[in-house]
Every structure is written in C-alpha cells, then in structure tokens.
Symmetry: C2
Subunit: 212 residues, 2 copies
C-alpha cells in the first residue's frame, strides 16, 4: 500500500503518536494496549487501531503494542529515518529561534540561513552561517534543498517563494502571515501564528459571553 491513501487527518495525528511513544520509551514502558494508549493520548482506542491499520499490523491480540517497535514504525512512516536539507530565509529573531530549536536531532539538517542585511551576512546563528539572499539561486543549484523555512517580512514572502520554487525547493515551511501562491504539487505547511493568536482572542471573547 502506498502512503497516498492516507488522509491528512491521520497524517496529522502521527507526530502526536511519535511524541507519546517516545515519552513512554524514556519511561521504560515496554508494551501498551490501544485502550491504555487511548487514555494517555486522548484519541479513542478504535481510532488508534484504525490509524495504525493504515500502515500494517502492529498490535497483537491480547498483548497490545510493543512500544519500541511501534515507535520505530511510526518514525519510519513519518520519514524520520533519514535526514533533510533545510535552509531558513530570514535571519531575524524567529529565524534564529528556529535555527536553535533542536530540529537537527530529528534529522532536519539546517545548513544555511539567508538574509539581505549586510550586518548579518557572514555571521552565524547557532553555528549556521548567514548567507546573502542574492546568492540563493547559486547556492541551491549546488545543493538540493528539501525544506525552505520562510521567516521574512510578509511583503517579500511570495517573491522568496517564487525564487525557491524556480530553484527546485521540494517544500516550504511558511511562518509568514501569507497564503503563498505555489504550484499545486508543491508541499507548503503554514504556521500562521497570528491566526492562532486571533483564535485565542475569539475564545476569550466568547468566554466573556460577548454577543455578536
């Protein structure tokens, strides 16, 4: 079975399984039933069994799941059994925070930051060199990039995306409050922080019993 059959809803639950199984391994848990997993992770037991059945038979009737095996399977399914070349466009506060976040430990190899500020170019953030945005295309012609993270000001985000796409980027992790226009088959994952914060505001307002 190819992974193309898997729905985005299932895909978005995988990192959570990864996280909880990793914690269990650290605590020395050897095996777990879907019922126990359900109580910890908050998805229903049948949801969990269904999710895992998408990828094959992991559990054993009356035994449950071997935590280590299951973790390894999920790790492979997500694609964390190999590494990814990552660049960050925008060496500001957020770019620096992401360079320093520790994604490397998961196999995301942040190999360069790019910026247009002469004061930053040539320096490093978390041991990652900041390069001139003007050489982006040259750099990418020599070095295939799996993931480009955009943390630029919003008004240049689309231009940067266009340049990344022409240069053959495989996916974009977009931190700007902008819905990028990209070819249909390009992978774009948005972290629209402002949208998320506005949701908090709405819910606070709702809790106050505001009437529209």
């Amino acid at each position: 079975m190819t992974k193309r059959d898997i729905s985005m809803a299932v895909i978005r639950r995988l990192p959570k399984y990864h996280r909880y199984l990793s914690e269990m391994m650290e605590r020395g848990v050897d095996r777990i039933s879907s019922k126990e997993l359900s109580e910890i992770i908050g998805f229903s037991a049948s949801q969990i069994r269904q999710d895992f059945n998408n990828f094959g038979e992991f559990g054993q009737q009356g035994y449950g799941y071997n935590v280590q095996d299951l973790f390894r399977e999920i790790n492979t399914i997500i694609g964390l059994d190999h590494t990814y070349s990552v660049i960050i466009i925008g060496a500001g506060n957020l770019g620096g925070a992401l360079a320093n976040y520790g994604f490397q430990a998961l196999g995301f190899d942040i190999i360069s930051l790019f910026d247009n500020d002469p004061k930053k170019i040539g320096k490093s953030l978390s041991d990652v060199e900041i390069r001139d945005i003007n050489i982006l295309e040259t750099y990418m012609s020599q070095q295939p990039i799996d993931i480009a993270i955009i943390t630029t000001p919003v008004h240049v985000a689309q231009d940067i995306a266009d340049r990344l796409i022409i240069s053959g980027v495989r996916s974009i992790w977009n931190f700007t409050p902008k819905d990028l226009v990209v070819p249909e088959d390009l992978i774009v994952e948005n972290v629209h922080m402002v949208d998320s914060l506005m949701t908090v505001a709405y819910l606070l307002n709702e809790a106050d019993g505001a009437v529209s």
Copy 2:
C-alpha cells in the same frame, strides 16, 4: 445569538477573512461579492456566505459586501476591538521572537517576559522587561493576565501551566511540544512546531513514493 453556537471550523477561518479584508482595504477595494472573495481566499462563495450569516446580515443582494464594514465586523467578532494583557514565559530565542513579532499592533499588549536565568532577569527584549519566574505568582496577583505564552523547555511546561492556572490565567498559547493537562474550561491553543515539521517530512516522503 451568542457566539457559543459557532463551530471551531468557522472560528479558525475568521483570521483568514481578517487578513484578506485588511489587504483589500490597503489596496483601496471598496466592495466585493462573495464570488470575488471566494476566488481570492479559496473558500467557496456559499461557504463564505454561510460563515458570515453566523454573525448577522453583512452583505446586500446584488451589491456584495462593503469591505471596510465587513472588516470592522470581523475585527469585532474576533475581539480585536479591545486589548489583551499578555506575558511570555521563557525569554529564549523563541520568546524573544514572539516579543518582537508585532502582536502589540493587534492589541496584544506584551507586558512582561519571565525566565529563571539570572543573566537575563532585569534585562529587556523588545522593550519588554524580563522578570524572575519566582515572582510569577506575585506579579499575577497584581496584574490580571489574559494570555500566557509558554516557550520554556518542554520538561517544565506542565509545571509552568499549573502555576499560571493557579494564578488565574485566562488562556495559554503553548509553543512547547507538550499537550498540557488543564481544567476543561481553560483556553489552550497549541503551536506544536515539531508536529508541523514532521508533517512536512511525511509529505516529502510520500511524494518520493515511499511504501509503508
């Protein structure tokens, strides 16, 4: 009609309307039909009409929506017509990036950062003072907090959340890769960046035709 009737799916579309209407106002667009809005924003015209109908009658048959009026309505519905007191726990790279992001312009008043690092305490990031995490409870007893942003290391996130809750925080914007255990009625919005990045990895892997 109270806002309690509105589904999370609708609520999560509101910031996007806010963003696109704001852009249109900047471009000097006076009015727009649901069909035109649909082409720009990517939701169907009937979806858009349905969403707005949740909050009252905004449009006019054959005229469409007045962009400025609609923007103002959405702004009020989200709750951006008043301000929120915000603190950030964790004055690291990410905390600094969030302090500097510009949320203030939207009415999110970031009034303090907190950290446990003596080298940081007393200093400022983006004009926001970094205070000792030890005085969190005292600070909050004098200053009601609407939103606490957690950007601490993951292993202290739950402890910080517990302290915030006891101190009367109204909502938590959680940037740690941890599902916080909180009272059912507390508002928690997660930005699980690792989960988002893993989704990118999965989709890259899938595009490679990996078979599970």
